[in-house]
């Protein structure tokens, strides 16, 4: 039974990659966004569903722009091998999110998963203003440890965390990296 549960979890995690993209300034009630009928904009998981419903943002009405700015692109497309990687929980392939309206213009994000890891994040639709910014941040999405096959500290070059005191530093991974022993 446990095995079955694990298999289901792996698949669910793979499907999780059908990310929905919405502008952060929009408070999209799960019900409202679900009416778009697209896979990419259905309700979110526990990580943010609570905030979606109880946000008091005055921009709630803007939620319709999520679909409005879809500009005809299907919300999520999948290509690639499509082989699932149960060991890591991520499904291989390329997943393209729905375009979302931001203050910079319409932004669309695609991710590529290979071997269970997010290997590339690209922005096929991006306001053509600051090309360099796009380059800088294209890969900058934080990849959750649960999305990687391993998160060995040996692969970490720098550690970002809430400011540690100099005392905390001596116990930290950053300290170990600085001594080139990590």
């Amino acid at each position: 039974m446990k095995k079955i549960v694990y298999a289901v979890l792996a698949t669910v995690t793979g499907l999780v990659l059908l990310f929905s993209y919405r502008t952060s300034l929009e408070a999209v009630p799960p019900g409202a966004s679900g009416t778009t009928g697209t896979a990419g904009t259905t309700g979110t998981t526990g990580s943010s569903s609570g905030s979606s419903s109880d946000s008091t943002s005055s921009e709630t009405s803007a939620s319709s722009s999520t679909s409005a700015t879809g500009t005809g692109t299907s919300s999520s497309t999948t290509s690639g091998s499509g082989s699932s990687s149960s060991s890591s929980g991520l499904k291989d392939g390329t997943f393209t999110g729905q375009a979302a309206d931001t203050r910079y213009g319409a932004v669309q994000v695609a991710i590529t998963v290979s071997g269970g890891r997010i290997t590339d994040v690209s922005v096929p639709q991006y306001p053509n203003t600051e090309r360099r910014d796009a380059q800088i941040n294209a890969q900058a999405i934080p990849i959750l440890v649960s999305e990687t096959k391993s998160a060995q500290s040996a692969q970490i070059d720098m550690v970002s965390g809430a400011t540690f005191t100099s005392d905390g530093y001596t116990r930290s991974l950053q300290s170990a990296i600085d001594q080139a022993k990590a």
Binding site: A100, T102, M158
Partner: protein
């Protein structure tokens, strides 16, 4: 001030299978209540002695500049210009021009963040929440960035207490892999960020307790999340990470006013929200077969 001896041990190989593991030259210094680390990566274990000397000199210069700014800006030192401005022992027009520069930046941030960032919340100018990121960004640009033209140097980075500015030589086969600490599990990573050029800053209640105050209410932020912001410049990343913490886990509306950035919030209960280019990336709860 403690300065670790520059080490020249090859770092661990890249997951991507880069042919040659770069050599990491590190110098650290205790300042601003934390520890700063200046990293310079070279392609070969032992760069030309002249290059090695310039690397060491640049690292010293970068850390010295942070020391100098700490002495100028620290509200914890009675002899800092910030402290003397506060008690009226120094006239604003006589202050170091960098104080005016920081002050103007803080005014802009207070307006852009809707008061969530406010260096004057205590009735006097205390730019502590701004200076570290701004200082690290400047020291990196002035002292470490010029090393990228040196033979064999592939990347430079400067971190102070977990907030960092990273640069990579054009064409170099290198990407920094920044670990984002898990505030709920000390010593563990919650996420990784691959980054060639840019800044990463994290703010939150971990490590220092409830030191984050909402300037709009004067109260400590309850259940404050830990916020990581990735931007081109550390002055932005650091300041807006603070804004994100004050705003709380449920509020990303500040992204409207923030510079183009990516990032992550980790709630006190472990929930996560992420965004890139001002767009939240949420995990879709999709039905089977889609």
């Amino acid at each position: 001030m403690s300065v670790a001896a520059p080490s020249a041990v090859p770092s661990a190989g890249r997951a991507s299978g880069a042919p040659v593991a770069p050599c990491r030259h590190v110098r650290t210094a205790e300042l601003m209540g934390t520890v700063a680390s200046a990293h310079v990566l070279t392609a070969s274990p032992s760069p030309d002695p002249a290059v090695a000397a310039r690397i060491a000199a640049a690292q010293r210069a970068a850390l010295d500049e942070l020391h100098e700014l700490d002495a100028l800006f620290s509200p914890f030192r009675a002899d800092s210009q910030i402290s003397r401005l506060r008690i009226g022992a120094l006239r604003p027009e006589d202050a170091d021009p960098r104080i005016l520069e920081a002050s103007e930046a803080c005014v802009r941030l207070a307006a852009a963040s809707g008061g969530r960032f406010d260096a004057n919340r205590q009735g006097w100018f205390d730019p502590t929440g701004y200076v570290k990121g701004w200082a690290v960004e400047g020291a990196t640009a002035r002292h470490l960035a010029p090393l990228l033209v040196e033979s064999g140097v592939i990347a430079v980075g400067l971190s102070a207490g977990g907030d960092m500015q990273l640069l990579t030589a054009p064409g170099a086969d290198w990407t920094w892999n920044v670990g984002i600490a898990d505030p709920l599990r000390p010593g563990a990573m919650r996420a990784q960020v691959p980054l060639r050029d840019g800044a990463v800053a994290t703010s939150g209640p971990a490590e220092r307790g409830a030191h984050i105050v909402d300037p709009r209410t004067g109260c400590a932020v309850v259940d404050a999340p830990t916020a990581t912001v990735i931007a081109e410049r550390l002055s932005d990343a650091d300041a807006w990470a603070t804004v994100a913490v004050v705003a709380g886990f449920d509020d990303l509306s500040w992204l409207r006013a923030a510079p183009d950035c990516a990032g992550m919030l980790i709630a006190a209960d472990g929930r996560v929200r992420r965004w890139t280019h001002g767009v939240e990336i949420a995990e879709a709860d999709v039905p089977w077969g889609r």
